[in-house]
Symmetry: C2
Subunit: 369 residues, 2 copies
């Protein structure tokens, strides 16, 4: 695996100033890759920032350069779609620490060698700080809306709280105000799977011709289960066998779900950097909006002027409805305008990425007001 990692033809720019980080360090020559859709109007008031999830990227509504698949929210973003690019200028940056063109642990440091674990540990707020700096470079000072699901929703909330007044509307889907302990636990398993792989080499694998693909695949498999509902798993796979009529009495992928997970794991290693997975899940585990407010979430939102829309899914056990409800209650307590909906959808946490027409209507409706 080359140190350039996964190349993308996306536009990018380098920030003129070092980006200060929550950990106390700063990052100079920070490069941010992004995609845009639609046109910024003369009043510069039609920009929507869409924040991607853990292993997502900037390829929001255009084909992925590695997989060739449509953008991850292709159904949501485009002319006449819920996030209507005839009307809005939609930006999606690759997050800080990732591997699709934005600076991350696989990028070259000033000594010409990949950062590896020399890359500073970042936070969700650091990711948003990079977004805000990118927007400034692009001449965007305020946002019609900031939108995201899962880790994207955390970025949206962080922007609302830490850059108050910047986004008129905040749409946070299937997320939380502070990473629940069960998710911290699952993320730790993923990181341990990567770091247990001898090919990880303390993070210095980029120029070795080897990469911790086996560990990263296991991390992905474990995470993938948490994205799906029991209902989806039962309907999609159940106990059905894979291309065989009887159990093999071996350790091959007898069950369809085993074959599916193995594929999810191995294909992921072709498009994602293991160190980026470490950094991004670490940022998520650190995410806690209430940190500076001694756990009082209502205090977090005091003085925030955005309008909020929160969405959860009834089969999402990773970021269950209770997490969104807690945010809604805090926004109510802080006197902020908020609408909150739990949508029925069978797909678990992944519902925000899949075919849930009610979500399309909620997003279109929220953006029309």
């Amino acid at each position: 695996m080359a140190s350039a990692l996964f190349t993308s033809a996306s536009p990018w720019l380098e920030l003129p100033d070092p980006l200060p980080l929550d950990g106390g360090q700063s990052l100079a020559n920070l490069r941010i890759a992004y995609e845009t859709y639609g046109t910024l109007n003369a009043a510069r008031d039609n920009a929507i920032l869409v924040c991607h999830a853990t292993t997502g990227d900037q390829h929001l509504a255009s084909p992925h350069p590695i997989t060739g698949k449509p953008g991850w929210w292709d159904k949501m973003v485009g002319p006449g779609k819920p996030i209507d690019t005839d009307r809005f200028y939609v930006l999606c940056p690759n997050v800080l620490g990732s591997c699709m063109g934005t600076t991350g642990p696989g990028s070259l440091a000033s000594d010409g060698k990949p950062y590896g674990l020399r890359f500073p540990v970042i936070t969700i707020r650091d990711m948003v700080r990079a977004h805000v700096a990118l927007l400034a470079q692009l001449g965007v000072e305020s946002l019609y809306a900031v939108i995201g699901g899962s880790m994207g929703g955390m970025q949206a909330l962080s922007l609302a709280v830490n850059w108050p007044g910047m986004a008129q509307r905040v749409l946070a889907i299937a997320c939380t105000a502070a990473m629940p302990v069960q998710n911290i636990a699952f993320q730790e398993v993923g990181r341990q799977a990567i770091m247990a792989d001898p090919d990880w080499q303390g993070g210095n694998y980029y120029d070795s011709g080897r990469a911790p693909d086996a560990g990263l695949a296991v991390a992905r498999m474990a995470a993938h289960i948490t994205y799906l509902s029991e209902e989806t798993l039962s309907e999609k796979f159940g106990r059905r066998l894979q291309d065989r009529s009887a159990k093999s009495f071996g350790f091959g992928a007898d069950f369809q779900v085993e074959s599916y997970l193995r594929y999810q794991g191995s294909s992921f290693t072709g498009r994602f950097d293991a160190n980026s997975y470490l950094y991004i899940t670490r940022a998520m585990s650190y995410f806690d909006l209430t940190e500076a407010h001694e756990g009082r979430l209502a205090d977090v939102f005091r003085g925030v002027t955005s309008r909020f829309c929160l969405v959860s899914f009834d089969t999402d056990w990773l970021y269950p409805t209770s997490e969104s409800r807690r945010i809604a209650h805090a926004l109510n307590a802080a006197g902020a305008p908020v609408s909150f909906m739990e949508l029925a959808a069978p797909f678990g946490h992944d519902s925000f990425l899949l075919d849930v027409p009610a979500l399309d209507r909620v997003i279109a409706g929220f953006l029309s007001r």
Copy 2:
């Protein structure tokens, strides 16, 4: 790691005949380690078979020889306890395929070398077949009761169905009649974590001086999360930091839950064999009582004469109440006597091993009638 693996001073015996297996092979010179508590009465009608869970063993009510901890059901089994050894002769064998004295993949095959992956893939019914053969050797032809939680409950159900008439009472706790797909998925992740570890060496690690401890630890960590409830995780750990007042901005175990999981993973490798983990989880994923009855669970129980007691826990998301309810409905449909209780307990799947006084009462009550 020596090929003798984890030694135990438990009594053991070698079966006189080869044990036929569901996969079509048979195992000669099968050795079974077990513990007994109490005394078999003259009528030989007071024997209770207790079946252990995935990573349990025969040390039911006596200290574990490696960890030094009390037996895994010490609170439940003993004089005057719910499973009263003043009254009952209680047997607990180490399951086939395990590593505490019963023949498994780490045992020596007839060529004097460890089986490794030459050990045949087994089923839950094979485990029970070994139990029944052991009981015959010990002069026990019928059981006052068979009892087990989790994989132990599956063995109890398998004995009831496949050796009808043998057990008067069947007590199955926190289990299922057919492994749910989500559990198959988590078990596959665990196996992949082990097999991805280069020290696994295709299963031939016993005489190499290396063992797939890193992979086994990751497997254990992932499984351990599924044994706990969100409630337990929140109360026991929450987002509290481990021995530090602020985030480290690194990849150490910042959170208590991370430290706890790492400990659970690494300590497990000192008492369990990675190949045994493969074989036992494979047996669990294969478990489906309805296999020969085209999915009709009521048909499975037709003609079964035991009395049943089923217990589930309200916070168990690995083997949720719906699994036990399905068994209860099938038993009702088959006309078998069954009582079924969902107990309130905060500990998730692990509730059957922890302090849940209501469970003690249910077990004592069921055994008194």
